[in-house]
């Protein structure tokens, strides 16, 4: 009782800050400066992202402000069918021409084709491989798989493109009876090599974070290990695995060198995988050297960059919301 009265009394009186010696004050100041400097450094991460958005968009802005650019590369020219000449296809990407044709549609189709092939190959390989590593593999094999995946992840994309161009092209062409050695299928396979490590690693993380109690409960109820893996663990890790796929998809859309070397770079709109394709990123890489700074073609390429940025940004947002949902489900929501 007494003590409480004393405490209450102490709290009603204003607290006086203890006096500091000059040395201590200097030390406090130095601490504040250091803390401020470090906080400033942290700002560079945000600054870099904002600067990228600003400066890439800035160079593309001329498309909407300059009259010459607006005429040559208007939004309608980019996305709507053009009636250029009788008998000629309506969607073409030929920016270097008397009448520049700047339709983005063949580029979208090309990007989608190669990305779709890569996902169709990489998702089963990555997810099943991760499942094997997380659930079925003996420890020795698991220890082997991890460095293998890391090595694969460490291969620069230019080397994967080189491999696709020099080695895989003839094999794929003979095996699938294509007309052309450089086509969407080849580019997709090369891309798959690049994104399998991403899908594998993130899926494996998701699978191993499923609590052991899930597995133990399932086995205790009489399920076999494979039933447990397929019907209990996999569904529990599903949001994380989906996030892995979305990350892989984002990586595949933005990948440049592999597609540049292996796809044939033809602005064809066709659904056949044996035809060549031209992707958004490869177009930037191939044509950027040719453009004169400030020309409509230049702004157009930057505009493609803006589109790529937006796509990957949205995909990353989706992936991170899904991962957050996994974490919440496995830790917060689990009873």
């Amino acid at each position: 009782m007494d003590r409480q009265a004393i405490m209450e009394q102490g709290l009603t009186q204003p607290l006086v800050a203890p006096l500091l010696s000059p040395a201590a004050r200097r030390r406090q100041l130095r601490e504040k400066v250091i803390a401020g400097f470090i906080t400033l450094m942290a700002f560079t991460g945000i600054a870099a992202l904002i600067l990228i958005i600003i400066f890439v968009a800035k160079e593309a802005l001329a498309l909407f402000t300059e009259p010459e650019a607006r005429h040559e590369a208007s939004l309608s020219k980019m996305f709507l069918a053009q009636d250029v000449a009788p008998g000629r296809p309506p969607f073409r990407w030929q920016p270097v021409s008397k009448i520049p044709k700047v339709s983005m549609i063949p580029l979208f189709v090309g990007t989608l084709k190669t990305t779709a092939v890569s996902m169709l190959v990489a998702v089963p390989l990555g997810v099943f491989g991760a499942l094997f590593a997380a659930e079925f593999a003996p420890r020795r094999l698991r220890e082997l798989l991890k460095p293998v995946i890391e090595l694969l992840a460490g291969i620069p994309s230019v080397v994967l493109g080189f491999f696709a161009l020099m080695v895989m092209s003839t094999v794929v062409k003979e095996a699938l009876g294509f007309d052309r050695p450089l086509n969407a299928m080849l580019a997709g396979l090369g891309l798959a090599l690049a994104i399998v490590p991403v899908i594998f690693t993130v899926s494996e993380d998701a699978l191993t974070s499923v609590p052991r109690s899930y597995r133990e409960a399932s086995l205790a109820l009489g399920a076999t290990p494979w039933e447990t893996a397929w019907k209990v663990v996999l569904p529990a890790a599903a949001p994380g695995i989906l996030a892995a796929c979305v990350l892989g998809f984002g990586r595949a859309i933005g990948e440049t060198m592999i597609v540049l070397m292996a796809s044939g770079n033809a602005d064809v709109i066709s659904w056949s995988l044996g035809d060549s394709a031209r992707s958004l990123s490869a177009t930037i890489a191939a044509e950027m050297g040719e453009v004169v700074v400030g020309s409509p073609h230049y702004s157009l390429l930057f505009f493609i960059g803006v589109q790529l940025f937006i796509f990957t940004f949205v995909l990353n947002l989706i992936a991170s919301t899904w991962t957050r949902r996994v974490v919440r489900k496995l830790t917060g929501g689990a009873t």
Binding site: R30, E31, A35, I38, T39, M41, A42, T44, G45, A48, I52, F55, V56, E59, P124, L125, F128, F132, E135, F136, A137, L145, V148, L151, L152, G154, P156, S157, V158, V159, L160, F162, F163, L165, M166, L193, V196, T224, W226, E227, L247, G250, R251, G254, E255, T256, M257, M261, S281, I284, A285, M288, G289, V293, F302, G305, L308, F309, T312, F313
Partner: protein, 303 residues
């Protein structure tokens, strides 16, 4: 379902997953085998130390090795301070529910997802055209001195690209330093910055080194960002100034594979170049793995 069928189906599906893992291992093996088989013969000391001759059909790739090394060195000098300090802020200084820290994390995650070619555009639009032109104007250069592709801008572009790698590795390293170390230091009267400099950072050094090595490995392999920020195919000189162009192993591979005048003649050279590039990236990754396992073993052992 009968137990027998269940087991059979189970075996079938499990083998499917095993097959997937096998295919992945096999693909890596095929790539490595193919490159080593075709390239090993050409990787001689002359190859590594001489410049290219005979229209790229002879000689060596020393300038490309030098260019790659110089590029990654500059990039590392640029990215390490910024990346480490950002991670330090996020882990050591940021208040628990800080909105600013959340923004920084979101920015870093998104930075990691930006396509590499967009970084190339950023390098061109920001560093070369904005900063470079500004510098030229400020320093009174009439001709374009800074406002053109060069090794400085290429390395800064790569620094921005590898920033997330450094931040994530450093944060992991900081997390691995036990809290007790920090509290003990503070209890003994050290300030936060003293604790940071003398206890935390030295303790996190292996993880920070891992981050540096991973960043270097990434920077040495990326080609798209340097396509129009400084890489070149045939240069008579090594890059001696910050605005020089440079040769680069990855860029060299790309040009040789797609534009060489005589594909059959340059094939051995091309394979050897790829082998050197792969050896470089693998060696770096191996170093990172070794550091990481050593730290984990030490941490597990000390507890």
């Amino acid at each position: 379902m009968k137990h027998g069928t269940r087991r059979a189906v189970g075996l079938a599906l499990t083998s499917l997953t095993g097959l997937a893992a096998f295919i992945i291992i096999a693909m890596l093996g095929i790539i490595l085998f193919n490159v080593v088989e075709n390239g090993a013969g050409g990787v001689t000391w002359t190859f590594l130390s001489k410049p290219p001759e005979d229209g790229m059909m002879g000689g060596g790739i020393f300038p490309a090795i030098f260019g790659t090394a110089a590029l990654t060195l500059l990039m590392t000098v640029a990215v390490m301070p910024v990346g480490v300090l950002t991670a330090v802020y996020l882990h050591e200084y940021a208040p628990p529910n800080s909105l600013f820290a959340r923004f920084v994390r979101v920015a870093v995650v998104n930075l990691a997802g930006v396509p590499s070619i967009v970084f190339g555009l950023f390098g061109l639009g920001f560093f070369i055209l904005f900063v470079g032109q500004g510098m030229d104007r400020a320093l009174g250069h009439e001709e374009m001195y800074w406002a053109q592709p060069g090794i400085l801008w290429a390395s800064l572009t790569l620094a921005v690209l590898t920033l997330p790698v450094v931040i994530v590795s450093t944060e992991e390293a900081l997390r691995a330093v036990p809290m007790d170390h920090r509290t003990a230091s503070l209890a003994l009267g050290a300030t936060q910055s003293q604790t940071l400099g003398r206890v935390v950072l030295p303790g996190a050094l292996p993880g920070i080194l891992t981050g540096a090595v991973l960043a270097i490995s990434r920077g040495a392999g990326e080609v798209a960002p340097i396509l129009f920020t400084g890489a070149a195919y045939f240069l008579p000189d090594l890059p001696t100034h910050l605005n020089s162009q440079f040769m680069h192993l990855g860029y060299h591979t790309y040009v040789m594979a797609t534009q060489s005048p005589d594909v059959e003649a340059t094939r051995p050279l091309l394979y050897s170049t790829v082998l050197v590039l792969l050896l470089l990236t693998f060696a770096l990754n191996l170093v990172a793995v070794i550091i990481r396992t050593r730290t984990r073993r030490k941490a597990a052992g000390s507890h």
